[in-house]
């Protein structure tokens, strides 16, 4: 360690943190200063707000069909009307409402699958990382098998055995994601296990359980947070892909994938049916990725701006 260049650490921060108190201050200050995180969280917040409070934002029922108003163009184009701002889809349902309700489904799906995968993966990672030995071999082989199995075949088989409801899909996606988390947690465990503060804790008499949960878990949370923001984005796209190929959630439930799958065939005549869900995905993922990407700086000190 180079004694000379740790000027930045103690001199810089010692000065201005005396008036801020506790952990929250650090988060709060960082969020404001970093533009990326600010805009990222702003966009994500707006999207989540629209999706959660959908009934307030639009008055239409996403499933109500009105055949006569089929494929009306968006408001600003000729033939469009103020009632349907973004026009209607092939069954005459309001596109904006379906996108918002579809968003609710996709985001919720992304969130639940990531959470499940996070829990399972972290549990696996903690056990294999900390105890190692025979148990580690078995669990790591399970991870290999999981990664070895071709995802597309698994999806098609499972989606034809069980009816593709919300929970089946989120179980499926968490099946896809959990090995990633297990590996990351295991690698952190291996490096942290022999860290000095763990030795000190052991010499104080702390039990293995306490060391894992209270000590090492804290270091896992930041990178888990980072990975899960990225994975939510992947799941939203994968769900849209499944819907596109006709495997995803059954109609008439609106999801971004389903809406786009319908719109695919009208691409030349009713371009808006496929374009606007794509734009919706782009905006949401842009917010999530911007937030996740800049969060990385907060998590990974090396990337953090030095001065």
């Amino acid at each position: 360690m180079n004694l000379d260049t740790n000027i930045d650490n103690n001199t810089l921060l010692k000065k201005d943190n005396i008036n801020f108190k506790g952990k929250l201050s650090r988060w709060y200050r960082f969020l404001l200063t970093n533009k990326g995180i600010f805009f990222g969280s702003l966009i994500t917040f707006i999207v989540i707000f629209c999706v959660v409070f959908a009934p307030l934002v639009t008055t239409y029922d996403p499933l109500k069909q009105d055949i006569t108003k089929r494929l009306t163009p968006p408001m600003w184009q000729d033939g469009g009307s103020i009632e349907h701002i973004l026009g209607t889809d092939s069954m005459g349902r309001d596109l904006l409402t379906r996108i918002i309700y579809g968003g609710r489904f996709s985001l919720l799906l992304g969130l639940t699958s990531v959470l499940i995968a996070l829990m399972v993966g972290t549990l696996f990672g903690l056990i294999t990382g900390y105890y190692g030995g025979f148990l580690e071999n078995i669990l790591m082989r399970i991870v290999d098998i999981q990664l070895g199995f071709p995802f597309i075949i698994l999806v098609v088989i499972i989606l034809s055995i069980a009816e593709p409801t919300f929970w089946v899909l989120s179980a499926l996606f968490s099946l896809l994601l959990w090995p990633g988390y297990a590996r990351v947690v295991r690698s952190i465990l291996l490096s942290e296990k022999s860290a000095a503060y763990v030795l000190a804790a052991k010499s104080l008499g702390a039990s293995d359980f306490r060391i894992i949960i209270i000590y090492i878990a804290r270091n896992i949370i930041p990178s888990m947070l980072l990975m899960s923001t990225m994975d939510i984005a992947t799941i939203i796209i994968t769900e849209a892909m499944l819907g596109f190929v006709g495997l995803g959630t059954p109609p008439p439930a609106p999801t971004w994938g389903n809406i786009m799958a319908d719109g695919k065939n009208y691409i030349s005549t009713a371009w808006w049916v496929i374009t606007f869900p794509g734009v919706a995905i782009w905006i949401t993922l842009f917010g999530i990725n911007l937030f996740g990407d800049n969060l990385q700086q907060f998590v990974n000190p090396k990337l953090r701006k030095k001065y």
Partner: protein, 510 residues
């Protein structure tokens, strides 16, 4: 009277064909390659008896010939059989055309016909579904043969138009048969590269060589992909397109839109052996009246469907609009619902309408629309979507727990009425609706045994169809209209109601 007209009609058509044949002989040697994009992919096994897949039946006429042929007006026409007569209710005698060569050069004789027909009709092979039962062949001489059915079958002639005549060596050697077909058709088999079938002109075809040098059938899964390939000229004909794509086709000068009503009909089937539909035709009729079939055709299917008002489709022998076919009438539906014991839906268990996603176009959309129509009159019903594999497995079950009604299409690619009526409504196989009513079975047996075409037509129209419609085991939603995009340079391409490809007369203008 009608019968006389058909024979004269067929005579004129014959002359026309001959002239065409003559003119094609004069025509220059075959040139150019025609590439056709098809919607379902082909099975790798070329033995026609081993499958009942629609796409194969459509493609086989390009490299196989049949005893009899159904022309554009839906009438029978001699092909490999120059003439035929009915000796007694069980036997038919056919005169075989002479000097017809197989692709491998061997001459066509009645022995080939005997082996082909017997092989096709044996219960072991799937193709037996098209025939009324086991058929025995008795060779009179090299060019005459007698076919004996085990029970009188008026539908024999039309069914024979679907059984290709194959070489007897091939029939006794199924392995070889699976590799390459050996027929007498206008084109010869070259190779099959997984998704593309390559054929080339059969120079010594008995009607003269075809105008095209090469033909290619390529399987393209996505309708928009098919459309763009035909627009960029990588393929010349793209089948099974969607009505939404019509504006794109019409806006493109070098692609022509062909609309062709085909023998396929989409049905809404009631599970007649499962409560609440069991022994309750009034309830079934109540459902029938509640569904806005006109709306589906007009707003959803748009150009891709035609109103259907009978159990058969125009072009099929014995077709006529059924008088008692229900139309969209909400009050009558509610009235019948109350009569059936469920006043505006009370007492009905929660029902499920099964629909297969990805098989028939827009099945999902009109499935949703029907569910909404039924919900409007108080029926507790939900949409239950499955993928085609699963539907195929459970669509015939008599007491399925997963669903109560289903939307399934029926396309026998033949014009014989029994391929519709007997196959769907006879109690024994009792396929999609599992209807089991003796009265329906009697009328079906009655019309099957009438050998005289005119009398058989009269019985079908006035007795068989009305009785079945009364019992309402299934409601025909609409007749499919296939949309094809054909490039300008393709000339002489005819769309047959049975959707088979007749490419003999087609040529490419440069």
């Amino acid at each position: 009277m009608k019968n006389m007209r058909t024979t004269i009609g067929s005579f004129i058509v014959l002359v026309f064909c001959l002239s065409l044949v003559l003119s094609s002989v004069v025509w220059a040697a075959p040139k150019g390659e025609l590439k056709i994009g098809i919607a379902q992919d082909l099975v790798g096994n070329w033995d026609p008896t081993q499958h009942t897949v629609v796409t194969m039946l459509q493609v086989e006429p390009t490299y196989f010939d049949f005893l009899v042929k159904v022309n554009i007006d839906g009438d029978l026409e001699p092909m490999l059989a120059t003439s035929w007569e009915n000796i007694d209710p069980l036997t038919w005698e056919f005169k075989i055309r002479e000097s017809v060569k197989f692709h491998n050069g061997s001459l066509l004789t009645s022995a080939d016909v005997k082996s082909a027909i017997e092989y096709a009709s044996s219960a072991k092979n799937p193709s037996s579904a098209w025939l009324p039962g086991e058929i025995k062949g008795k060779i009179v001489d090299d060019y005459t043969i007698r076919l004996i059915t085990d029970k009188p079958a008026a539908s024999l002639l039309y069914s024979l138009s679907m059984i290709p005549i194959t070489n007897k060596e091939w029939v006794n050697n199924p392995e070889k048969f699976a590799e390459t077909p050996n027929g007498t058709g206008p084109f010869k088999f070259v190779k099959f590269e997984r998704d593309t079938l390559h054929l080339e002109a059969n120079m010594d075809y008995w009607q003269g060589p075809p105008n095209l040098e090469k033909v290619q059938f390529q399987y393209i899964i996505d309708p928009s992909a098919r459309l763009y390939l035909v627009k960029t000229g990588q393929i010349q004909i793209a089948g099974r397109l969607l009505s939404e794509q019509i504006p794109i086709i019409e806006s493109d000068p070098n692609v022509v839109l062909e609309k062709n009503p085909i023998v396929e009909q989409m049905w809404l089937w009631f599970k007649c052996k499962k409560s609440p539909f069991k022994d309750n035709p009034t309830l079934r009729r109540a459902f029938a009246y509640a569904i806005d079939r006109a709306g589906i055709t007009k707003y959803i299917m748009y150009e891709q469907a035609k109103e259907s008002n009978s159990l058969l489709v125009p072009g099929v022998f014995g077709y006529a609009p059924a008088s008692n076919m229900p139309s969209y009438n909400v009050e009558k539906a509610k009235e019948l619902l109350a009569q059936a014991g469920y006043p505006n839906g009370q007492g009905l268990p929660p029902l499920k309408l099964m629909v297969a996603v990805g098989a028939w176009p827009k099945c999902k959309e009109y499935g949703e629309y029907i569910v909404e129509n039924l919900q409007d009159i108080g029926i507790p019903i939900e949409l239950f979507t499955v993928e085609i594999g699963r539907l195929g497995a459970i669509c015939f079950d008599e007491e399925p727990e997963d669903y109560d009604l289903q939307i399934t299409g029926w396309n026998p690619t033949g014009l014989e009425p029994d391929l519709f009526l007997r196959a769907l409504f006879y109690s024994k196989p009792g396929r999609l609706s599992n209807i089991d009513v003796p009265e329906i079975d009697q009328t079906l047996d009655k019309e099957l045994n009438i050998l005289d075409l005119a009398k058989r037509e009269q019985v079908i129209q006035n007795e068989t169809i009305p009785t079945i419609v009364d019992y309402m085991p299934g409601l025909p939603l609409f007749q499919t209209v296939e949309l094809k995009a054909v490039r300008q340079e393709v000339k002489g391409f005819k769309l047959l109601p049975s959707t088979v490809y007749d490419l003999h007369g087609v040529y490419l203008a440069d």
